[in-house]
């Protein structure tokens, strides 16, 4: 029975059905959605960790594959990620009492001078869906504000977004400022956005370049294993 619920949960993540009222990617799927199934799994005393790995994460992995293969589009991916994010909010209080370690905080900002938020928001929702605590610092965030945040809250990860070739340069300034403040070693820096390249990420000394939100999650997971 519990296997059935987990399998249904995974399928509904793939379908992007947050609740039973939502239409899925395929118009044939009906019944309870991710939120109802998560609650049902909790009621049946399935460990939260199993709900996450067997249902939510396993489903999102397939969504990522389909997106990368060009089979899924941005709206499909967002529907799934938002469903998972909603389920994580239900599960989070239950994780506190277990030996499951929190995955760490991922702070994210669009850098000073850049007001583009769509890419940042997509990455936020995918990272949150993967079980990380996400703190969105907003758009057009001054470098000193980012440095202050890292100093005070010590996030494990910092994501920087920029769409423009001009504002991309600010990412380098953020890395330099964190170095100057002696904070560089305590945080892993992820950069991404339309103008950014792997070469640029390496040149400014970022820890990772992410071509999209799924890659951000993949790299986060690989770092967390270590």
């Amino acid at each position: 029975m519990s296997d059935d619920i987990i399998a249904m949960l995974k399928e509904n993540v793939i379908q992007g059905r947050m609740t039973g009222e939502d239409e899925g990617v395929d118009d044939t799927v009906t019944g309870p959605g991710v939120v109802e199934l998560t609650q049902r799994a909790i009621d049946e005393h399935i460990p939260p960790q199993d709900i996450i790995t067997g249902g939510l994460t396993a489903g999102m992995e397939i969504v990522g594959e389909k997106f990368n293969a060009g089979e899924y589009y941005v709206p499909d991916m967002l529907a799934s990620a938002e469903a998972v994010s909603e389920a994580m909010d239900i599960l989070k209080p239950l994780l506190a009492g277990t030996d499951v370690k929190p995955k760490g905080t991922f702070a994210i900002a669009t850098v000073k001078g850049d007001i583009h938020d769509i890419g940042k928001n997509i990455v936020s929702i995918l990272v949150k869906g993967a079980g990380y605590e996400v703190v969105d610092l907003g758009i057009d965030v001054p470098t000193d504000k980012i440095v202050d945040y890292v100093r005070e809250h010590k996030p494990a990860f910092l994501g920087l977004s920029a769409l423009l070739t001009t504002t991309m340069l600010v990412m380098g300034e953020v890395v330099t400022a964190l170095n100057a403040a002696g904070l560089r070693e305590q945080v892993k820096i992820f950069v991404g956005g339309a103008a950014v390249s792997k070469e640029y990420a390496e040149a400014i000394g970022a820890d990772a370049y992410c071509s999209d939100g799924f890659e951000a999650v993949r790299i986060l997971e690989s770092m967390s294993v270590v």
Partner: protein, 265 residues
């Protein structure tokens, strides 16, 4: 509808390369082709960075050598705009763009006043893109007031109602269309202008989404569009939109386009 040809933009890789190697014939050809295809203005974006001003000066000269159409000088950097305006000679130029940020309004407003330019104004401020019609109209109020202080009349303002992808938020096409209507009602003398392609980001079959949106925006009262005039399908829809919104007296331009074999059916 006023067509602003978007092709000479340094964010397009082939154009960025041509600018990098100072390839005059490539860029002049691209300007001439857009002119022939029916562009009313040629957008000129020279890219950013330290060389921006010098590149803009050079690019304006190159484009002007190929077309008499007025230019739409495109940069986030007022000093790059200024450089382009200094060398520009021709019909009333357009500046792309300003928004409701006080500093930008001041700098771009004084440039536009001195050069008797039209201005594209994004209805947003330093807080980013407002999600509602009301907030966008409030940004327009700020813009109109500040530009009036520079002696720039509403007639010289083209508001960009802002286009966000429907793939990320499915109500956004409606917000854009309602913003066009609201701005027209409030500032009937001003124009509206937008780029098309953002609407279809993240979707398959983007071309049809862009074309349908162009028609809907035309119905809402859009006056101008920044688009690729070399796209014959899209230009067919522009001609059809003009026909169906009372902008083509006795359907003359539509029929002329048909006779020339320009309409893609």
């Amino acid at each position: 509808m006023i067509i602003i040809g978007e092709k000479i933009n340094a964010s397009i890789p082939s154009v960025r390369d041509a600018i990098g190697r100072r390839d005059e014939s490539f860029l002049a050809d691209l300007a001439g082709k857009q002119d022939t295809a029916g562009a009313d203005y040629i957008d000129v974006n020279a890219g950013e960075g330290g060389e921006g001003a010098a590149t803009m000066r050079w690019l304006v000269d190159v484009v002007r050598s190929a077309t008499n159409k007025p230019l739409c000088l495109d940069s986030d950097d007022p000093s790059v705009l200024r450089a382009g305006l200094e060398v520009y000679r021709g019909d009333r130029v357009m500046i792309n763009s300003v928004n409701a940020e006080p500093d930008r309004l001041k700098m771009v407003g004084s440039l536009a006043a001195r050069n008797d330019a039209c201005v594209i104004a994004l209805v947003m401020d330093e807080g980013g893109i407002p999600r509602t019609v009301e907030e966008r109209v409030r940004a327009a109020d700020v813009i109109v007031k500040a530009l009036a202080d520079h002696g720039i009349a509403e007639e010289r303002i083209f508001f960009d109602p802002l286009v966000l992808p429907v793939s990320v938020d499915s109500i956004q096409a409606g917000v854009t269309l309602k913003t066009i209507e609201a701005l027209q009602k409030r500032y009937p003398a001003a124009g509206t202008v937008m780029g098309l392609s953002n609407i279809s980001y993240g979707l398959p079959a983007r071309g049809i989404v862009n074309r349908a949106f162009l028609l809907m925006a035309a119905a809402a009262g859009l006056d101008a569009a920044i688009l690729n005039p070399l796209d014959k399908r899209l230009m067919t829809l522009v001609a059809t939109a003009d026909l169906l919104t009372g902008r083509d007296s006795r359907c003359k331009r539509f029929i002329r386009s048909y006779r020339r074999g320009e309409l893609v059916q």
